[in-house]
Assembly symmetry: C2
């Protein structure tokens, strides 16, 4: 039994007409002899509409209740898809998270999938049924509904593929993974394949095609993930382990930018490793992702420390930081674009960073902060320099 787990994003199921088209695509692969599991997101803007409804109740809706509310969006689209399949004469059944034991832990709105009880899905597949699963949600130990965060349906799909040892196909409104966001750089090239690590870096850096945890999960269990356009024959991109790096490979595979972060600088904070680590621990305990960190050399036992966090978490983060700043100056810089280049080739090619900095300098692009990993270099630059930087780097590294 060859199992295919497909995921269709919100725009792919945005109308009843589109749901019927998805049903036809599913039927095609089912009739070709595959066992089909289909994970769906909420229709179109449903999630945003539900959030807007909650915001009418209160500016700061209770997180447990918000998750319960948002989970209905995927329940609606999954039952409609099952109806469409049955109406087309194909036996199908929809499940929400609690019905197939999608167990989660962690905070509301950002939960992690711990496990999925594959029994029911396997039984239905054995019976020849097409199984539809409401994405984006799970049930925690208290029996509460939790959601997985924006794009979480990707992770639902990969987790089910892992559990059933199937292959995974993510259908969305883009026709694959590009070296650079084509909306920002029209000459961008589509990749036939990309390594998990590269995709992970790109996803976490603002290339919002995929939910990061879905890629981590795919990597951990070696499940190749196909990403492509729904209802189309255009070939997409496969995310997999790219083993055969040949000599000619380019050092840089992709480029990503993000304007979603803000930089916080705390001046003259005590250069005590305990103070700093406590600060970062407290921020992390709220599941606020600190990304870039830089620190000046100590003067009189104090340092200036800067870091970036998602804009949405600014208020919550400042509440914590103010406990540590002892009334000292906190500077907030919202004019931040995180500009990153990513490539497994960087592991074996030296001088990429030097070339990047030289190009920035030569073109009067101010670099505010820098972080690097083995396969990535990220610079915080001014937002006004973003498009110029994309053009320079994409052309230099042939993206």
């Amino acid at each position: 039994m060859s199992v295919i787990v497909q995921k269709y994003g919100g725009s792919s199921v945005g109308t009843i007409e589109k749901i019927k088209k998805v049903a036809q695509s599913v039927i095609k692969k089912h009739e070709a002899g595959n066992s089909m599991v289909v994970v769906v997101s909420a229709m179109g803007d449903t999630t945003d509409e539900l959030i807007a409804l909650a915001k009418q109740v209160t500016d700061n809706p209770d997180r447990r209740e918000l998750d319960a509310l948002l989970s209905t969006g995927e329940m609606i689209s999954s039952s409609l898809l099952a109806m469409a399949l049955k109406a087309m004469g194909h036996d199908a059944i929809s499940y929400s998270a609690y019905q197939i034991g999608i167990k989660t832990s962690g905070q509301y709105g950002k939960s992690l999938i711990d496990d999925i009880d594959g029994t029911k899905i396997r039984e239905r597949l054995q019976e020849g049924k097409i199984v539809i699963v409401a994405g984006f949600q799970g049930i925690n130990d208290e029996g509460d509904i939790t959601t997985l965060g924006r794009g979480g349906s990707d992770t639902t799909a990969v987790a089910i593929a892992v559990k059933l040892n199937g292959s995974c196909e993510i259908y969305t409104d883009v026709d694959g993974i590009y070296s650079v966001d084509p909306r920002k750089y029209s000459a961008a090239k589509k990749l036939k394949e990309i390594d998990y690590e590269e995709m992970l870096e790109l996803a976490s850096l603002g290339a919002q095609v995929m939910h990061s945890r879905s890629i981590e999960l795919g990597q951990k269990y070696s499940i190749p993930i196909y990403v492509g356009l729904s209802n189309s024959d255009i070939e997409g991109t496969v995310i997999r382990e790219v083993k055969n790096m040949n000599m000619e490979s380019k050092p840089v595979t992709g480029l990503a930018t993000s304007d979603e972060d803000v930089a916080i600088t705390v001046q003259n904070i005590s250069n005590d490793i305990n103070v700093l680590s406590n600060l970062f621990e407290d921020v992390a305990s709220k599941r606020i992702n600190i990304d870039m960190i830089s620190q000046t050399a100590p003067v009189n036992g104090t340092v200036n420390i800067s870091f970036t966090i998602p804009k949405d978490d600014l208020k919550e983060c400042l509440d914590i930081v103010s406990l540590y700043s002892e009334g000292k100056n906190i500077i907030i810089d919202e004019d931040i674009t995180k500009f990153s280049i990513v490539g497994i080739g960087m592991k074996t090619t030296s001088g990429v960073a030097a070339k990047m900095f030289k190009l920035f300098s030569r073109n009067d692009i101010l670099v505010k902060m820098i972080t690097t990993s083995e396969i990535r270099i990220t610079c915080a630059i001014r937002q006004e320099d973003k498009l110029k930087a994309i053009n320079i780097m994409a052309s230099e590294f042939e993206l």
Copy 2:
């Protein structure tokens, strides 16, 4: 711990503003020292909108999937009400059916509540929380979501009141139970109280204020049910056992009409009790409610048999009937108004039926079929005679 189980209908939670008003009403009784459980229907026309969405997929949506779809309406309103209460500083928690083990059996769309696991609700009430429950739904033995039929949230509320030994309050868009539908007879009188049996007859006869099974359940466990207008001081009606019938009591308490039925007549069917009982069993097995039955005297071993069923079930019913009619004539009469008068007083007052028939005859109102119970007389009349009949009977019996 005095437990009050309130139920708010769809029009009472139709907008966020109305949900906030409901929250205030709930808080008032909570602050007065009561433990509060609140059952909510879907907001306004949500259920109809979801049905319309399903009908866009297919004319005949799969029943299991339709139930899964419809159940989301109550999940949305219950989480929004819990959010509103929390935002007002009162601890609240919403539950959908599976979270508190509302067990159901029977067909999709018309399921019955078998049991509710009261443990979680009791624990939350002990903690001082206000518990919000999504009405109208339950989980069957297969773990599927099932719905209880139109108005099913009433039954959810009474069932929880039974389980917690609490009192029950049904808030809706009418300010109580009237002897006659005030939209059809403006002089109709509001009742201070009404017996379960009378209410049951009225509810099953088209007075759509309440879900019939909720009244049966209240009667079985002697739970008085208050019915009134939400967010209002106008006194409503209590449904309870009315023991002290005094000599002066009127024989007829209420009057109800319904245009929702259709009469089927099968001509020259074999007068074999097995054939007839098999026919009615087969129809009942599809949970189609046969109401009025009449049969002509046998001629040559065959009879004509007529019965009424809900219009919605006509197609399904005809499929069954045709198996028994042996090609003989089936006559369908859609011009049916079921006209009923109800009153516990009929048990002790004779001549009510005779007076009714005399009035029909004197006013040229054709009576097509008749059925009676101990406390009810129902006649099938032409729809065009409905308003005339209401005026004559309501005035005669002082309703």
